[in-house]
Subunit: 399 residues, 2 copies
């Protein structure tokens, strides 16, 4: 059969992600990986999960294994309200939709909102998973400018004045890939701009709880609730393999997200939602997050220290207060793809930054460095290795 002729028009927009190959290479034995966006396995509360499994079976019995509401398992939606109120987000259980990871929310958002050619405004660079979720629905992207304080509000204002934007997609806190956080002042400006332009914003907040210093900054959701779909996940504060995300959208949007989700997976795993409900209700979430931070904070510090010591002076890098990533930019003309190839030969991987841009040719001199998977000694070694390759390349150019 000529299978290729069977593919839909939209499939042509779904490219085979080169990053899949990078992450496969990262899992090879002996490799030090600064590539993935993957929590440290030692951060998983394995023993707690064992206890919670017994508790769930005792408490909920067969209903933890039965088909359930598309909207989500009611006990989980209930405890998430309490959890969210600690972030100044006040909602009722009915306003929460549980999704299969935040990826599930991104897919449903793309599906119900994007007609082919619709304009979606994204930070440049932006989260790759969002692009992968939206692409099959055939949007046109416009890029918003960013600096060390995150999205530049005037860039948003300009985009909204010159384009009919369907929605804006942002990761305001410890962004993937840059680790940057939008400042409080800018969040207020952004809220005011989206209200004035009457436009929808998708605020993706997977890393907010992983803050290693400084004070938490309120979500933009708290400033413009009717204009924002807020999404988050338990992947970084419980376990990613359980695939539990959640989202809060204005009622009319939420209704359609539920209907779209029903066609995609009926509902998210009842058992895993019950585990998550007991994890939060039993105060395990609030006890576990500080433990996770105690693992990650020294790794971030070690990586910043190593960058200071080893990286060429021609480089800039972000100095995040939390999350999982540091972003580094080299001098123009540097091809980070070829640096990556050389680094791979020396058993160190990272992700070339160009994969986080929606347009070709952007971000060629950039890289994303993850600091949660490798131990401190390995982080020091691997940054030293990459730095040596970079210096050699810069010297080669200068010669």
């Amino acid at each position: 059969m000529d299978y290729l002729s069977l593919l839909s028009e939209r499939t042509k927009r779904i490219s085979v992600s080169a990053i899949r190959e990078i992450l496969k290479a990262a899992s090879r034995p002996g490799m030090i990986s600064l590539a993935g966006g993957i929590p440290a396995p030692e951060s998983f509360p394995i023993e707690i999960i064992g206890k919670l499994s017994d508790k769930v079976i005792q408490t909920y019995g067969p209903s933890a294994f039965q088909y359930d509401l598309t909207e989500g398992f009611p006990p989980l939606r209930k405890v998430l309200c309490t959890h969210l109120s600690s972030k100044d987000i006040f909602v009722t259980p009915d306003e929460i939709l549980i999704t299969s990871g935040s990826q599930g929310a991104l897919d449903a958002i793309g599906k119900i909102l994007i007609s082919p050619g619709d304009v979606v405004a994204v930070e440049a660079p932006t989260y790759l998973g969002a692009i992968q979720a939206f692409n099959p629905y055939e949007p046109h992207y416009i890029n918003l400018e960013t600096d060390d304080d995150g999205l530049i509000p005037s860039s948003l204002e300009k985009a909204l004045s010159s384009h009919r934007v369907k929605f804006i997609y942002l990761v305001p806190t410890f962004q993937n890939p840059t680790g940057r956080t939008i400042s409080l002042e800018r969040r207020r400006e952004i809220a005011s701009i989206i209200i004035r332009h009457n436009v929808l914003l998708v605020e993706d907040d997977p890393y907010g709880d992983l803050r290693y210093r400084g004070k938490a900054i309120p979500s933009i959701k708290t400033m413009a609730p009717d204009h924002i779909i807020y999404l988050s996940t338990l992947s970084k504060v419980f376990a990613p393999g359980l695939r539990i995300g959640f989202c809060l959208a204005p009622e009319m949007i939420q209704k359609w997200l539920v209907i779209a989700k029903q066609g995609v997976d009926l509902h998210t795993s009842t058992f895993n939602q019950a585990l998550a409900a007991e994890y939060i209700a039993g105060n395990y979430l609030e006890k576990t997050v500080p433990k996770i931070i105690r693992i990650y904070q020294p790794r971030l510090d070690k990586m910043l220290d190593a960058l200071d010591r080893y990286f060429p002076k021609e480089f800039y890098w972000s100095r995040p207060d939390g999350g999982m990533f540091i972003w580094a930019e080299g001098p123009e003309g540097m091809d980070m793809q070829s640096i990556y190839q050389e680094s791979l030969r020396q058993n160190v991987t990272f992700v070339p930054g160009r994969y986080f841009y929606t347009a070709k040719g952007q971000g060629m001199a950039t890289m994303r460095l993850n600091f949660t998977m490798a131990g401190e000694a390995a982080i020091d070694d691997s940054i030293k290795t990459i730095a040596a390759i970079l210096k050699k390349r810069i010297q080669g150019k200068a010669a």
Copy 2:
């Protein structure tokens, strides 16, 4: 905000399913439900799941809770090969894609194959979940005729001769909603037709293991492997709340299904896949299925017996050898929606058959009766209740 104006073109094809309301009504206390397609909670191997949770934590440790391959958890894919070989389907682990329920496979199939306006051929009536998965991708449906032996091959031949069909969707064994099974002779004819017309067929097989009498009939996949995407689920033989489905597609199609799934949910719950792997590897699946059959078979027999005794002679109904449903058709002009309303007032629910048709106005005199959720006495009572309403209506018409 005018949220309605934000919805995509495709969202207009995603209708709010009336069946959602029916299933909500079915869960009201005191209701006897013949409505859902839901396994009996007493069929769930709860104690086994408790043991398996401990086993999974011991055997796989943190990797059962980590991000995993989009293709699926390797140990599950491995044991599924053995399971499938007992059905004369011989594949390697690499050929298996684990999906979030079979719904996840249906969504990915729709996404990668259907361009707006593409023709999808379905049995009339057909599985509602497939329609819900495909609709957002804007197909045009054509209906295939069926009788007590399932799909009529000449109807398929005719459809393929007169339309350019993107794919055919069938539930050949104990179909939802009719309970009918396509005979061996017809399967061979269908295989020969799709090979001759060089067309793709999606064979959905969620109920095959729930056979209460007669001999298993090989899947069409065994007869035309290169032309078939075969999908199945553990929802009916393990637990639906774990959301574990799987599919086998020709290599080129499989590759795109994986990429589509990555954008939708990254991967299916690792923990639940590990539970499923241990469930099959520990021979619990083969021990549990006979137990499930011992619960369902007397319920099917009781319902057939009650239909024989109480239902008006003007009615036809299917006599399935397995699965979860009986299909009943009344005389033309009978409005099953209004029968449903009256039945609901008497605390008995079923699903009016018209929801299983892709075109409006079809199947008005039909109904789907589920026999797995209610006990035998309740089945007898509820069929008696519905029969009394039907008889009254028929007499009223005759008078």
